[in-house]
Subunit: 534 residues, 2 copies
């Protein structure tokens, strides 16, 4: 091939986060960003304040390649950190404020941060753990926000953000499992820019306006420390949307902001939506223009129906910390509640497969399950300083989600279980989630978990661990559950192998630090407490 003649003057355009601001700086200068009930700024202000923050950090000694941690509620300050810190070439470390003090200490030490920006609400925590810091860390307390304003206020509002390799790390956060230490997940500038484009292309290219677009008013309800607010703040800033930041999540404030600022688009886990719907003010506010993307956990039908009754438009999406997170979104054009709750269609460039243990594709028949694996240009390439876990994550060249699901004939994915929770009995894979859904619908059941216990002949056999509702008779509840499960078997909905060998009642189901069912502990407890067995 004869050589082309790229000009030495030509701009190669590395995919850097600073370029996400390029267009909104032209077309959205006057657009408003609202933070809490008392702060309003324009995109022009945002551009200047990002420079001021960068200059202030530079004054503190922050250079390219260093790491800066942030502990704050969801505010305009956090948004400014999303841009200024990576744009300087430093890494934004979004500290998970919901971890235990020991875990926060572990992640700060592991991150090798040089400076942390801490809202006063978290200073007690920091004061408690800072003696354990393994290096000198500058702690910038930003009071109730005024400290931040004073800090950046005096700095110059211009900063010449340099070009550098688009593969440079931009963000870092930690993910926690039920076992082991938190694992560091990081993303490069390139990955975040591509994720931003993928998110807009994936949510925008549907008939109707169920996704998000330039006419929407955005408010995050996924904490910004959680997978950078699922990447939405970058996307909506690039598009130049009006934005609203709710600060610390409080249902009354959230509802007030939706009403006062005309919020039309948010995203959250089911629990947060539940919290909003439970608030008495909810009935007094028109929510019929509010579109909410639900992720992080399956969308329970009950919650979906409650939301629908208020006029909220819900759709499910799917991803995880290791995937930046966007992998799939439900059919955004559908009015069918069942379709809206489906795991959905892969985003642009997402190479999504459901595979057997030897990485063969299962048929796309809407029933054959396997593990969900993926490639996309924005998946984390490995955990920070944890080669073993990284190799496991990418075994066979695809990122292993650890989720079990199937693909429908129309290409839509359905997650049915976590791989580690699936019950493998006699060659059949039983979805613990499906079993729990059936059992939890029975009267007298407060909460229930389906787990697999080792079995000499069948490999594993399903067992239910249940908490009966107050004043209910466990024996009757057990009968209810067994009858309901048997009826589903008779109807051909689930395999006969799914009928549990036992239903064990406990006072309270064990949970992990983030509130998920701790099935590992349940299995251990049951196997060691022989008194409970049969």
């Amino acid at each position: 091939m004869p050589p082309g003649s790229p000009s030495l003057n030509a701009y190669g355009y590395p995919l850097l986060i600073k370029h996400l601001l390029t267009k909104s700086n032209i077309a959205s200068v006057c657009q408003e960003i609202v933070s809490g009930t008392d702060m309003r700024l324009s995109y022009a202000d945002l551009g200047k304040r990002v420079c001021q923050l960068a200059n202030s950090l530079k004054t503190e000694g922050i250079l390219e390649g260093m790491r800066v941690g942030v502990m704050d509620w969801d505010t305009h300050r956090y948004l400014e950190c999303f841009f200024a810190i990576p744009m300087m070439g430093a890494t934004l470390f979004t500290i998970n404020i919901r971890l235990s003090p020991a875990q926060v200490l572990y992640t700060i030490n592991h991150s090798q941060s040089d400076l942390i920006i801490v809202h006063q609400d978290f200073m007690t925590l920091i004061d408690d753990i800072k003696s354990g810091f393994n290096r000198d860390i500058i702690i910038l307390t930003i009071g109730n926000g005024e400290g931040y304003e004073r800090w950046i206020g005096g700095a110059s509002d211009s900063f010449d953000f340099p070009d550098f390799d688009e593969n440079q790390t931009a963000t870092l956060f930690y993910t926690t499992g039920t076992t082991g230490k938190p694992k560091g997940v990081s993303y490069s500038h390139r990955q975040l820019v591509l994720h931003t484009l993928g998110l807009i292309a994936g949510f925008g290219a549907w008939p109707g306006n169920a996704g998000f677009h330039r006419g929407d008013v955005y408010m995050p309800l996924t904490p910004l420390f959680h997978v950078h607010g699922w990447g939405f703040p970058y996307a909506v800033t690039m598009l130049g949307l009006r934005q609203v930041y709710p600060g610390r999540y409080d249902p009354a404030t959230i509802l007030g902001l939706i009403a006062a600022e005309g919020v039309t688009f948010s995203h959250c886990v089911p629990t947060v939506l539940s919290m909003v719907l439970d608030h008495p003010n909810c009935t007094q506010i028109n929510l019929s223009k509010w579109k909410v993307i639900i992720g992080g956990a399956a969308l329970p039908r009950g919650l979906q129906d409650r939301a629908a009754a208020t006029g909220i438009s819900l759709h499910a999406a799917y991803g995880m910390s290791e995937t930046c997170p966007f992998l799939t979104v439900a059919n955004l054009s559908s009015d069918d509640q069942e379709v809206r709750a489906q795991t959905g269609f892969p985003g642009p460039l997402v190479d999504l497969r459901v595979v057997t243990q030897d990485m063969k594709d299962v048929p796309h028949d809407g029933k054959t399950t396997g593990e969900v694996v993926a490639r996309a240009p924005w998946l984390t390439q490995g955990y920070l300083d944890n080669a073993e876990a990284s190799d496991e994550l990418w075994d066979g060249g695809y990122l292993h989600t650890g989720d079990v699901g199937y693909i429908r004939e129309n290409g839509s994915l359905q997650i049915t279980d976590r791989l580690k929770d699936v019950i493998k009995t006699g060659g059949e894979w039983i979805s613990s989630l499906a079993l729990e859904n059936i059992a939890s619908s029975c009267s007298g059941v407060e909460e229930v978990a389906a787990i697999g216990l080792p079995h000499a002949k069948w490999g594993e056999r399903p067992v239910l661990v249940a908490q009966a509702a107050k004043d209910s008779n466990p024996n009757l509840v057990r009968l209810n559950m067994m009858e309901e499960i048997q009826s589903r078997v008779d109807a051909g909905e689930i395999s006969k192998w799914a009928v549990p060998d036992e239903i064990i009642f406990v006072d309270c189901l064990p949970k992990t630090s983030v509130g998920k069912l701790d099935k590992k502990l349940m299995r251990k407890d049951i196997l060691t407490r022989s008194d409970l067995k049969s």
Copy 2:
């Protein structure tokens, strides 16, 4: 910074054209692609046929790095070439069938192609020029399509498309100016993938459905050899839209396909839309669901009004051969015809500036003009083997569009003229386009061009070159034009410096090979024909 631990198993995901097929292969396998009136295939077929084409090319000796030219109408075959050829690592050379035979020969020789795929309609042309080929070139005649089917029909429908550097050249075509040889413009896989995402994100992220989305039925009306059909075939294939290819452009066929296949989204230059609207069948077909993006030239108001009367939804977009082409699109949510015809808002990641000669930004006041320059991740990095033109294109690190315009306070761009056509008089920049718009609206004017002629005191002065309508009196026509122009000056619409010094009548305005006004020739003619002066 401590090192991360990217796994060696991790897939780095180069931005390759093959990945555009990933998602549609999962979610749109059954979606239909219609070609002309007799060919229908599914996306599953497309995937297999792309492999068959690659295997057939491999059999002919095509390897990574070679160039393959295509001369065909807009068909499913061309779409298959869009994927198979770059996916093999070869370069797709889209031959401009509208060039003169000498220019076609020049571009084929310059491209160093190893094989050209030629529809029988172009074989006379090829037979005429092939003795001038500067190397051995395999000529694959595809008859009226059957030859192509026979050719690929026997090949295996699986092909292991390799990964390679995303900066590898994927496509090549030639752009012609009014002077000099055609210049080769090429794009890499990375650029085309990013352009695809940018196009979807830029057209999808508007309220309403004026852009394109998964529910649309797509038919290109920009020839696929022209800047790869403005990049839309890649975008709609990635999204999995139903597609319709019209073959050779014939208004009756186009109207028939719109009606029969329910086409809802197209793009074209004004001339093609005009041709469709002029056809008598036009009145018998419901066009109210047809969205059309107009580019390549300013959208004349008369055409816009005619289209609106039929119910067609028109919007303007802007770009050029060197920009892949997407730079801007008009406000897709607006119902205002004037707003719809505006050059519009920059796409995602497009860093668009209007600058003075020393590259300073002009104020965004909706009136101060300058040259439009741009950066985006999909701009050509230089012309093939033409370092001088490449350096000129990228002077100062921004791609120079050669267009003059201004930016409104809301960030929307308006092109007012070509830089080389703008008339610079006494420090004022007069838009030749504005002057032509006014003059052409006067009765008795068939066609008119505004040009600048050198002037000792003012640098340049405007002169109109006009063709009077048949049976009109040139003196009256001249009077009409001067009165109309003066009235616009009095109304403050244009500067008093815009009043032309002269109006010269000619029998016919000179045009370039692609039908544009040849102002360079006009200036030369007038300056050398002293008999015409005053």
